[in-house]
């Protein structure tokens, strides 16, 4: 796909879009033909296999890869448009360039998403003919909507990209409108696709014979909205982290200081978006978990307390590492901000808090102990570690870690600035009090929750979160006027950051990807031997829960394949870079 800078004309924009539509139409037509001919040619069966490959693993890998690319192409436009809007409002060209840089990544990724989606569709029809037949029968109208949405998305997204240089200056608002439409369409696509997934987890709107009684009830099943929101946020976090990784690749390969500065900044913005979207994610996850428990205690218990509980330890490890990595990145970044030396002293207490928080967060509820250790503890329960194993301690720890990371970011923000307003001292004290108060509320409720029954305790996490959010809001509300007209100690030396900071960005991207794969496995795995939970049983040889070792290896394989494919996207994108081509 050529760059819009080649010829910023309406004709070129339409031609590019036309090609995109043609491509997707051909792809869909081919998919239809292949699926049709395969299913009429193959002998009738409920399940089929491919050259001895497990049908479950095949579908799993392709579905997860499709989902990852889809998450990327839905997440990136959200912040691309926001960045573009910032550029339009502040009239700073670099934001517009950055937004375009983000969007550049999309073009190739769209194609890959579509290819993977088509392969997935063929696999569904061929490997799971009976289940696919049942589901598509139930949800026929949504398939049609989906098809329309796909075409709409392709048309608008390509127009958005190709008209970038055409719709500049006074015409910018039309371009922003296109960007908004890309996102509305993308979100609708996501919501429709979620219908099928969530119906399989928490079916509704069908009678005992499996006949549809209410399409809307089936669509608006208990887990639909929670998954929609959870995925929407996760897409932004994920997209941001991948965009940051792209910045890191370009930074490490940069030949000039100008390039280094540009991609250092891109990596920073990408990681900022990732972390900002990541912070509310646990709350969305909590809502989802609640709905799952409420829908089926069995599913809820096997997710959190039963066989899948161990995977949450891995999740805790990854999330804790994400916090460490983002603080690491910010602190290294402060090295390129003149004046930020003033705040280095805060790093010791912050690191101690983060490490202790991480330790609490990662303490397993069910402890692995040998016989001798067990008898020393007087049972499988350690009186002291047991305190850390429960959700109350973990909520407290994670809230404090969020608060610390937020504080890091605020220090970073004021790195090279000295407030000049007359009330600066009072303002800073108020900010410190806000943080301290939130930390006090979080800790206080954390400790108090050991003394109350669970249905009251659960409400506490809401207070803790609210305190943290409120402190953040107060802090920022004071910060903006406080730093108005602040004296600048010196300009940020973009590009002058040690290379290891870029590896933190890779770490962020890889952890997000792996985490997504893992959480996806848990979500899908807790259905155990059901295709559609409680309604349609899995009657294939794969109706068992695999060992955690096996499952995590598959998640790792998916992550590796994803990054191989992403490398192709990155490579195409840097090849399309006009500045690169000029050389």
């Amino acid at each position: 796909m050529a760059s819009p800078t080649d010829a910023p004309s309406a004709f070129a924009a339409l031609k590019g879009t036309y090609k995109g539509v043609l491509k997707i139409s051909l792809m869909l037509a081919a998919t239809y033909l292949v699926a049709q001919s395969l299913s009429s040619w193959l002998p009738a069966a409920d399940y089929r296999q491919f050259f001895g490959l497990s049908n479950r693993t095949t579908v799993w890998i392709v579905a997860e890869l499709h989902l990852m690319f889809a998450a990327f192409v839905l997440g990136v436009p959200i912040f691309a448009v926001i960045t573009e809007l910032v550029g339009a409002v502040t009239k700073e060209k670099r934001y517009d360039d950055l937004a375009k840089e983000f969007t550049r990544l999309l073009a190739m990724a769209y194609t890959l998403t579509a290819v993977l989606g088509c392969v997935l569709l063929v696999l569904f029809v061929v490997l799971y003919p009976k289940l696919t037949g049942y589901l598509s029968g139930l949800f026929k109208p949504t398939w049609l909507v989906y098809l329309v949405l796909i075409f709409g998305e392709v048309i608008i997204a390509y127009l958005y990209w190709y008209s970038w240089d055409l719709l500049q200056g006074p015409r910018k608002k039309w371009h922003l409108l296109l960007g908004l439409l890309v996102n509305l369409w993308g979100t609708a696509l996501l919501f429709v696709a979620d219908i099928w997934v969530t119906f399989m987890m928490s079916p509704a709107g069908i009678d005992d014979a499996g006949k549809l009684t209410s399409l809307w009830a089936a669509i608006n099943n208990p887990t639909w909205m929670p998954i929609n929101i959870h995925r929407l946020l996760a897409n932004v976090a994920f997209g941001g982290s991948i965009a940051a990784a792209y910045g890191a690749v370009r930074f490490l390969n940069a030949k000039t200081d100008e390039e280094r500065a540009r991609f250092d900044w891109m990596g920073y913005i990408g990681s900022f978006i990732a972390i900002a979207a990541f912070i509310p994610l646990p709350f969305a996850g909590y809502w989802l978990g609640r709905e799952i428990y409420q829908f089926s205690q069995q599913m809820g218990v096997s997710m959190m307390g039963g066989s899948f509980a161990w995977l949450w330890i891995l999740q805790a490890m990854l999330i804790g590492s994400l916090f460490l990595a983002s603080n690491f990145y910010l602190w290294l970044g402060m090295g390129r901000i003149p004046g930020a030396e003033r705040y280095v002293k805060f790093q010791i207490p912050m690191m101690i808090l983060l490490t202790i928080g991480f330790i609490v967060w990662a303490t397993p509820r069910s402890i692995i102990a040998s016989g001798a250790e067990m008898s020393a503890m007087g049972g499988s329960h350690h009186p002291f570690l047991g305190l850390f194993g429960v959700m109350a301690a973990k909520n407290t720890a994670v809230n404090l870690m969020i608060l610390t990371t937020f504080f890091s970011f605020m220090l970073y923000r004021r790195g090279n600035r000295v407030a000049t307003v007359s009330w600066a001292a009072a303002g800073k004290i108020a900010q410190a009090l806000a943080i301290a108060a939130a930390a006090g509320v979080v800790l206080g409720y954390g400790i108090y929750s050991y003394y109350v029954p669970s249905n009251i305790r659960i409400g506490f996490s809401v207070y803790q979160v609210s305190a943290v959010l409120a402190a953040m809001a107060v802090f920022v509300a004071i910060d903006i006027p406080l730093l108005k007209g602040a004296k600048e100690i010196g300009a940020i030396r973009w590009g002058q950051i040690p290379a290891r900071a870029q590896y933190a960005l890779f770490f962020l991207a890889i952890s997000f990807t792996w985490l997504m794969g893992l959480m996806g496995y848990i979500r899908s795995g807790i259905r155990q031997y059901w295709h559609i939970y409680g309604r349609v049983a899995d009657e294939s040889v794969n109706a068992y829960t695999m060992t955690h070792g096996h499952a995590t290896i598959i998640v790792s394989i998916i992550t590796v394949i994803f990054f191989l494919l992403v490398s192709v996207v990155f490579w195409m994108a840097s090849r399309n870079d006009p500045r690169e081509a000029a050389k």
């Binding site: 069995q298 039963g306 490490t355 249905n455």
Partner: protein, 257 residues
């Protein structure tokens, strides 16, 4: 100060290690110590590497040793120390031990969709404590049922689950796993009553395969108690331990108290 970064880091690491090993009673299992020390190591390293000056100061003595600039004694200590430590680690891993092997354990195994009790099939999803109904209409009646539950508890459960419902009855230490501590926020207070009924009615043998190895000594109470008696005992273990069963409608905001 900066000059001593490496030394301080090593000293800190060692003091955390010994603090956790010697300071925590009863001693924590090796698996947990391993997690804690890994995180401590990561925390220290990330902190050191997060600032260029600090990082260079940290590396300087190492560079001096490997470039042959450091005093002979330091060079010998490092060059001999690393293989010796590795060897010691290898010994610790391979030395024969008389310890019983690790037993991964799941705290709350997933309940079945339905189970049989007193010769009937019971649907776990819709099961409710029939005696709870008295709660709103007639608190005195609930109190009476709870008192009867207390008697049942002392006749049947007390030996294992203890006088204070803390899982520390007379027999408790003979079992692995030990009986559940009902005062612990992680046991019955996070479970719905239907789950508890399932556990009491079907006991250790009723645990699903996925949750093994359990070897639970919890008896199959449907063989000894009637449905009513089990529900009464459940009323008592909640009331007696000062907890309430998990319910979802209450958390949804339709508070009943």
């Amino acid at each position: 100060m900066q000059r001593w970064t490496l030394h301080i880091a090593v000293a800190l690491w060692l003091s955390v290690l010994f603090g956790l090993k010697l300071g925590v009673r009863p001693p924590m299992p090796a698996s947990v110590l391993m997690i804690y020390m890994t995180l401590t190591t990561i925390g220290i390293l990330v902190f050191v590497a997060a600032n260029e000056e600090r990082f260079q100061a940290f590396l300087a003595p190492l560079k001096a040793v490997f470039a042959g600039r450091a005093p002979k004694a330091a060079q010998i200590a490092v060059l001999a120390g690393i293989p010796l430590l590795a060897g010691w680690g290898a010994w610790l891993r391979t030395a024969p031990s008389l310890d019983a092997p690790f037993e991964p354990r799941v705290v709350h195994p997933e309940p079945p969709t339905s189970f049989s009790s007193h010769g009937k099939r019971i649907d776990a999803a819709t099961l409710k404590n029939p005696l709870r109904a008295a709660q709103e209409k007639n608190p005195a009646e609930l109190e009476k049922l709870t008192q009867q539950g207390k008697t049942i508890y002392y006749q049947n459960c007390f030996f294992c689950h203890g006088d204070a419902l803390a899982g520390d009855g007379h027999f408790a230490n003979a079992f692995s796993p030990i009986p559940a501590n009902f005062r612990d926020v992680g046991t019955i207070s996070m479970l719905q009553e239907s789950f508890v009924y399932w556990r009491v009615a079907t006991g250790g043998p009723g645990l699903p395969k996925g949750a093994t190895p359990w070897l639970s000594a919890m008896p199959v109470w449907q063989n000894f108690l009637s449905e009513d008696e089990i529900w009464k005992a459940i009323l008592y273990i909640y009331a007696g331990s000062g907890s309430t069963p998990r319910t979802w409608d209450e958390e949804g905001g339709h508070e009943k108290h």
